[in-house]
């Protein structure tokens, strides 16, 4: 069944693509292989097929035929819109794209990038092997939500989602941009209830997103920039801690820190950190060889983690 439909869709595409003039519906139904049954059944089939091809992004042009053909509409697929055209793409650029597209071992962007690159590789551009790039990207934090959010951004539709935070759980947002930052996906948008632009981490979204049926519900302000809404990576976010490190240990921490004093068993260091979570892991990794003196909240967080293990 699926075979027959696939075959018919391919035949229809081929026929509409090959024709210079518009093909009458009656011509299509009688000449393109696969249209069977009563006239009514064939027509229903054809209507569905057109919708299906359009959903694949294929443009089917409807045109008026010569007046001698009565008022039956005609159809064709314009080659210009069907065929991929990236002017002056070089082999070197294709190689760069291949490398880039192979980064995604996960997330919805992977298959999309792969099918895009396949099309580019079908253009007959001689590929090169000139790059020595070996670095890959591995995503430990894929998100299933990207595609849906991207669509909402493009349509300018509001979204609703549940968010894992201490205060407001249910959010209504005008989504502006999806941001990949520090190995995580974020969403920046106008929080409708709070009337302020906010940053959300996709890994903290709870469950599904609901996209509004309406389009063009909002405008992205012309002066909006992503950088304005990311936590600043300078003074504001860098925290300072006071840590005791056992002698002869913690070389990595020592390297980053500033020694305040030396003791018989422990040395005391001031160590700055940006990401509390990562820093805590690092500290815990050192086991009994490091001890947090300040700040108190960092100590509490560490204890909470350790307690979590014990619980």
């Amino acid at each position: 069944m699926s075979d027959r439909k696939t075959e018919r869709l391919i035949n229809l595409t081929l026929a509409l693509l090959a024709t210079k003039r518009y093909l009458k519906k009656s011509e299509i139904l009688s000449n393109v292989a696969g249209y069977e049954g009563t006239q009514e059944a064939k027509e229903r089939m054809f209507e569905r097929d057109k919708d299906d091809l359009r959903s694949l992004g294929i443009e089917i042009e409807v045109g008026d035929l010569d007046i001698f053909f009565e008022d039956e509409p005609g159809y064709r697929i314009p080659q210009k819109s069907y065929e991929l055209n990236v002017p002056n793409l070089s082999g070197r650029e294709l190689a760069l794209l291949s490398i880039a597209s192979s980064f995604w071992n996960d997330s919805v962007l992977g298959p999309n990038a792969q099918s895009g690159i396949r099309k580019l590789q079908s253009l007959g551009i001689p590929a090169t092997l000139e790059f020595e790039f070996r670095m890959k990207y591995r995503f430990d934090n894929p998100s299933e939500l990207l595609e849906q959010i991207a669509k909402a951004i493009l349509q300018k539709s509001r979204i609703k989602f549940a968010y894992d935070s201490s205060s407001l759980k249910l959010r209504q947002l005008e989504p502006y941009r999806i941001v990949f930052w520090n190995s995580y996906w974020y969403l920046i948008g106008m929080d409708v209830d709070r009337k302020a632009i906010r940053l959300f981490k996709l890994s903290r979204f709870l469950g599904a997103i609901e996209t509004s049926k309406r389009k063009n519900e909002f405008e992205i302000p012309s002066d909006f920039t992503v950088a304005d809404h990311l936590p600043k990576s300078d003074v504001e976010v860098i925290h300072s801690s006071k840590i005791e490190i056992r002698r002869e240990t913690g070389a990595l921490l020592r390297q980053r820190g500033k020694r305040l004093s030396q003791g018989s068993e422990y040395d005391t260091y001031v160590i700055n950190y940006e990401n509390e979570r990562i820093f805590l892991r690092e500290l815990i990794w050192h086991g009994v060889n490091v001890r947090i003196l300040e700040p108190v909240n960092l100590k509490e967080e560490l204890l909470a983690i350790v307690d979590g293990v014990l619980a």
């Binding site: 081929l14 962007l109 999309n112 670095m135 990595l252």
Partner: protein
């Protein structure tokens, strides 16, 4: 779960122009490129074979040959060119390029930006994705990559992630990757005689080493010892052999085909791999290896 007729149609429409530019490609590689099973590709090809233009005589059908697992298209009818990219495909590629830029040195940044503009020209909307570059240590990365490509060994001073101590190690770098804001290096560690993962920011210093002391073999199978001066002729269609096995490749000469010289390696692994590429890889030297491969292939053939 069976896939929809629509997904299959999309793949078939992409398969034909891809085949046209990759004549003589193996079904195995097609399966890999399109991310489906070989059986699926086979089924697709049989289906495509029956499609064509109204009239549907042999002259109007898509004409292709497949023999011994290799496919050639001689008449694609109206499917000569690939379909234009969907907006999801373009935006995914744009994000990929941003990501590439974020881990590469600035020297290539302009080129990537120019390429993005080329792709964007076919985009009728703004890109919903933004990649923010955080810190990068591209200089170290590039040196390690060069070592991977050339198959050089490295002598490193490493701040252990396991024992909180610095050690000196001789390693053969194999694979480098970025994950969770860190850069990692997978390598054969001669010092500990095993595969190890290193965090690049914990490599305190390194120097290139001749690698004479390295005894790495990319397999745990039984092996007959390394053979040196292996030369292969790799077809364009089999180029991923080169891409995936950089660690064992000494040099590549590009032309109609790739002339590939290998480092001395365990041949058992190589033999088995080469046979899998069919006509895509020919052994130019040494003769014994070519013979051995012939013999193995014959033995396989004799099973049928």
């Amino acid at each position: 779960m069976s896939e929809s007729a629509l997904d299959r149609t999309a793949r078939a429409l992409d398969l034909v122009p891809y085949l046209l530019e990759h004549q003589g490609i193996s079904i195995a590689e097609l399966a890999q490129v399109f991310g489906v099973s070989e059986k699926q590709i086979n089924d697709d090809l049989i289906l495509i074979h029956m499609c064509g233009l109204p009239g549907y005589t042999p002259l109007e059908l898509i004409e292709m040959y497949y023999e011994d697992g290799y496919v050639t298209v001689s008449d694609p009818q109206s499917l000569k060119k690939p379909r234009s990219m969907t907006s999801s495909e373009i935006t995914s590629l744009l994000v990929s390029l941003d990501l590439l830029k974020s881990v590469r040195s600035d020297s290539i940044a302009d080129e990537i930006e120019a390429l993005k503009i080329k792709l964007k020209s076919s985009l009728s909307f703004e890109n919903p994705y933004v990649v923010v570059v955080d810190s990068k240590n591209s200089e170290m990365v590039e040196k390690i990559e060069a070592a991977i490509v050339k198959g050089n060994a490295l002598k490193i001073v490493y701040l252990s992630g396991q024992k909180d101590e610095t050690t000196e190690r001789l390693i053969l770098p194999l694979e480098i990757y970025q994950a969770n804001s860190n850069t990692y290096l997978n390598a054969w560690c001669q010092t500990s005689m095993g595969d190890r993962t290193f965090r690049v920011d914990r490599i305190l210093s390194f120097e290139t080493s001749s690698g004479d002391e390295i005894s790495y073999t990319p397999t745990t199978q039984q092996h007959k010892g390394g053979i040196s001066n292996i030369e292969l002729v790799v077809s364009k269609a089999a180029r991923h052999f080169i891409e995936e096995n950089r660690a064992i490749i000494e040099s590549v000469e590009d032309g109609d085909v790739f002339q590939v010289k290998l480092h001395p390696i365990d041949v058992e692994w190589l033999i088995r791999t080469i046979i899998g590429f069919g006509s895509g890889i020919q052994v130019a030297a040494p003769k014994v290896l070519a013979n051995e491969i012939q013999e193995r292939a014959r033995a396989i053939r004799a099973l049928y």
